[in-house]
Symmetry: C2
Subunit: 243 residues, 2 copies
Amino acid sequence: MTTSTRYLEIADRLAAEIVGWPPGARVASEPELADRFGVGRAAARSALQELERRLLVRRVQGAGTFVNRRIEYVISHSRPPSWHAAVAAAGATARSQLTSAGRTRLPATLAERLGRPAGTAVHRIVRIFFVDDLLASWTEDWIPVDVAPDLDLAPRAVESIDLVPRRPGRVRDWCRVSFDIPPVEALRGLRLDAGVAAWRVERISRDADTGRVLLASITWTRADAVRMVVELRDAPAAPDTAG
Amino acid sequence: MTTSTRYLEIADRLAAEIVGWPPGARVASEPELADRFGVGRAAARSALQELERRLLVRRVQGAGTFVNRRIEYVISHSRPPSWHAAVAAAGATARSQLTSAGRTRLPATLAERLGRPAGTAVHRIVRIFFVDDLLASWTEDWIPVDVAPDLDLAPRAVESIDLVPRRPGRVRDWCRVSFDIPPVEALRGLRLDAGVAAWRVERISRDADTGRVLLASITWTRADAVRMVVELRDAPAAPDTAG
DNA sequence: GAGCATTTGTCCGTATGTATT
DNA sequence: CAATACATACGGACAAATGCT
């Protein structure tokens, strides 16, 4: 298909070129592209911005434009959200970093959802997650202190905190996925500028027997980091290929 | 919060102004804004594009910039996707329009998913959906002819086709939600330009007893038309407020 | 249908600001 | 500190789509 607009031609051309390039590979700069295709810097810039819109590259002021990687993140009835599992399935390496952790009192806005009175002592843990050193997610975890009084907040332990309340057969999960504009704290953590939408995964794990909340969390994930897929009910025979 | 960049100041100002304006209301044009705020057309344009990124307005070449409306679309275990229900719940009016309809043969790409051999006679129905006359969705439905030999394709009947196989207690639904770049046919139908991502809702309804596929569909929905929310498992006591 | 004004889309050249390396 | 690269902004021009006369 021939496009009459120059910057889309360039974008399509670049898109075809960078397919197969490793994530993080450097893409030509605006002046380089302007020179190469004989256009002004405006058109070259538009082309790179188009690639960014298509989630094919990430651009960082002062640094450059780099090939992006998007991993598949499937959530379903039988597969509750697991960051490490999703990243591993994509053949990438997951890394997390503790931003803040400590004990605090449950705010009123969350009390109802957790089924605990406001002011209840809880652990609050904020972490960020990487896929092959590309910033991807920001997570806020709430764990009632009486559920895990001696919660180990050492960096090593916090890595796998989503495994803590995961005693097979004893946990009942609730999960809600939407796509929205994160609060400022999450935006800062994800290094996104204001008004950029991201995946929001809200989650509550309860003890299957008592119904007591074990863990509540909100995760904000950059749209350029994951391709989120949510499945409801049982999958049909072969739900593999998707147009 | 004070921003050092002019266009974001203007965007924030406009965003505050248009809150509460009715959907479809006209926003000031680029030259008008440039004049009003004493900036060049580039800055005024950037401000309006910022509002478009935030899904607050829609811009149409030759026509202008207009206040957008986004309805909530909740899909959960207990609430299978229903366009008319979602639109009605938002207090808006739903309208659909038949794009094409006819009998054809099942393509190989879909055969596996439907559990029918390629070449099986099927009805194929393509429709677009509006929320208060704002283009929102594009849907492709596949219905095996032996399931509904005498399918009524009159415009009136096609309005409520998602109700056809909905005999309570006898239907088993499977559904998958993701966010991707639509194929060209859907892009054209949604009047989106290439590379713009949209919601993808894939759905298969089966007879609960026989497992026979009654209806398969793929719906592409503009991100600026709906705020999609997907819930897995049972909701907790009070999942109302969300930060 | 043709013609026209309006509005957004594309593109040029140039300049300055700001973040990264 | 300097070089590089992206971000913002100006002014100007023409193209393309829309809506009205």
